[in-house]
Amino acid sequence: MPLFAKQVLALIRKDILQELRTRESITAMLVFAVMAIVMFNFALRLRVDSFLPLTPGVLWVTLVFAGTLGLSRSMSSEQINQCMDGLLLAPADRSVIFLGKAITNVLFTLAVSVILIPVMAILFDESLMQAGVWLVVLLGVVGYAGAGTLIATMAASTRAREVFLPILLFPLALPLLVAAVIATSGFLDQLPLSEFASWIGVEVAFLVIFWTAGTLLFEFLVEG
């Protein structure tokens, strides 16, 4: 296996080991996400008869907010004891750090999604458990983690990183959010794929742009 891949795997393994020890990221994300959809469920039930038009929006807003919690913790864990310097001292391309962190963020957010979506399917009585929805979630989570890891790195060196991260990330992630909501709606409404395939294309484009940008620009972010 090439050294580059070994270094990325080492970073992912380290982050998973830390998460197993502390249970800080996934637990926080999961508790937040489940609480959010329970509250949405009660709040919306008072005014609407059918959740169907609202389900994709609720799902994605919840995933985006929960994902942001994980992103923030992912980078802040490297601020303890200046561990980021330890990573930067390693004879590795800077993109190793971006890829390791971004892949970990994808895994953590997907782990939350795997629990969140069935819970939401029960609470909202919607057919969320279908391959198309999972595809949209996978693409959306990967894209969001790519952009989020990049922005979280920028925000990590600031004092108000908890505030800066959503301020910088949410406007940037808006196209992804819109595309994911429309594509999820398409599958839930059982529309022909041709009617919303372009929105899946937007998700893919977002993913490619931010993972490429992260790989290329990470060096300038951490050394700037």
Binding site: Q7, L9, K14, R21, L89
Partner: protein, 258 residues
């Protein structure tokens, strides 16, 4: 002897403010160079540039013949760094920390034991892996499976040294390594650093303290306002250093002596 590290006219601007001005430095193997100066003199900026953590605004840097600005990845394999921050993950054990950094430094898997493997604890003379060797050198082998967060400041600093020497780098950079250590821990660390430096390495250490860690130093550079103002060969006294440094360092020395 060929220089292991050659820095030429290094400069660094933060915005419009120069913090390092035309610093040139050449260090050979076996040298233990102390860079002294008051807080804000530019010591840490210099060390971060030498460690390739910060890019200089001007100048060049070569480490063991490698252009460290153009090929930073290759240069980093030649550098070990200890700073007053440990760079250690508190929720991992001492061994897990070193396993992680070993993998990041490309140390082969055969030199990294599996975490759950049984390691012969009686083999004091023949360590089975780089990790075992590094932990034994800093006297932490018996605590290898303890979480780093349970370590005292002195033990954490020893683990930091184990991390820094794990890949056997020829150049060791120490940034204020004695900060926060009590007298005993500082004395132990000083002895450990001297022993480490004697292994055909070059060591560059920044400090603003004149009372600790200067045993074994072969050359002292005094940096002031981003420039190297004085260079002293071995045999200098703390009083001489204090006279050459700014008043704040002199005050610190007199306080310690009293």
């Amino acid at each position: 002897m060929d220089a292991l590290l050659t820095a030429t006219n290094l400069g660094k601007l933060y915005g419009m403010r120069p913090v390092l001005k035309g610093v040139s430095l050449s260090v050979t193997r076996g040298e233990f160079v102390a860079v002294l100066g008051a807080n804000g003199a530019g010591k840490t900026t210099l060390l971060r540039i030498l460690a390739t953590l910060t890019r200089p605004s001007a100048g060049s840097l070569r480490i063991a013949g490698v252009d460290a600005l153009a090929h930073a990845d290759r240069a980093r394999a030649l550098i070990g760094m200890v700073s007053h921050q440990s760079l250690i993950y508190p929720d991992l054990t001492a061994r897990e920390n070193l396993e992680f950094f070993g993998r990041m430094y490309g140390i082969s898997d055969s030199e990294i034991p599996a975490s759950d493997s049984t390691i012969d604890t009686t083999s004091l003379q023949n360590p089975k892996s780089r990790i075992e060797d590094a932990l034994r050198r800093v006297n932490l082998w018996q605590r290898r499976d303890d979480f780093a967060r349970t370590f005292s400041r002195g033990m954490t600093q020893r683990l930091t040294i184990a991390r820094a020497i794990l890949h056997d780098p020829p150049l060791l950079l120490l940034d204020e390594p004695f900060t926060g250590l009590d007298q005993t821990s500082a004395a132990n660390l000083s002895a450990l650093l001297r022993e480490t430096a004697m292994r055909e390495r070059a060591v560059i250490m920044t400090t603003h303290e004149l009372s600790r860690g200067l045993d074994g130093v072969t050359r002292a550079l005094i940096i002031k306002a981003g420039r190297i103002e004085h260079e002293l060969a071995a045999g200098f006294t703390p009083d001489l250093l204090a006279n050459l440094m700014d008043s704040s360092a002199a005050v610190a020395t007199s306080n310690l002596q009293s």
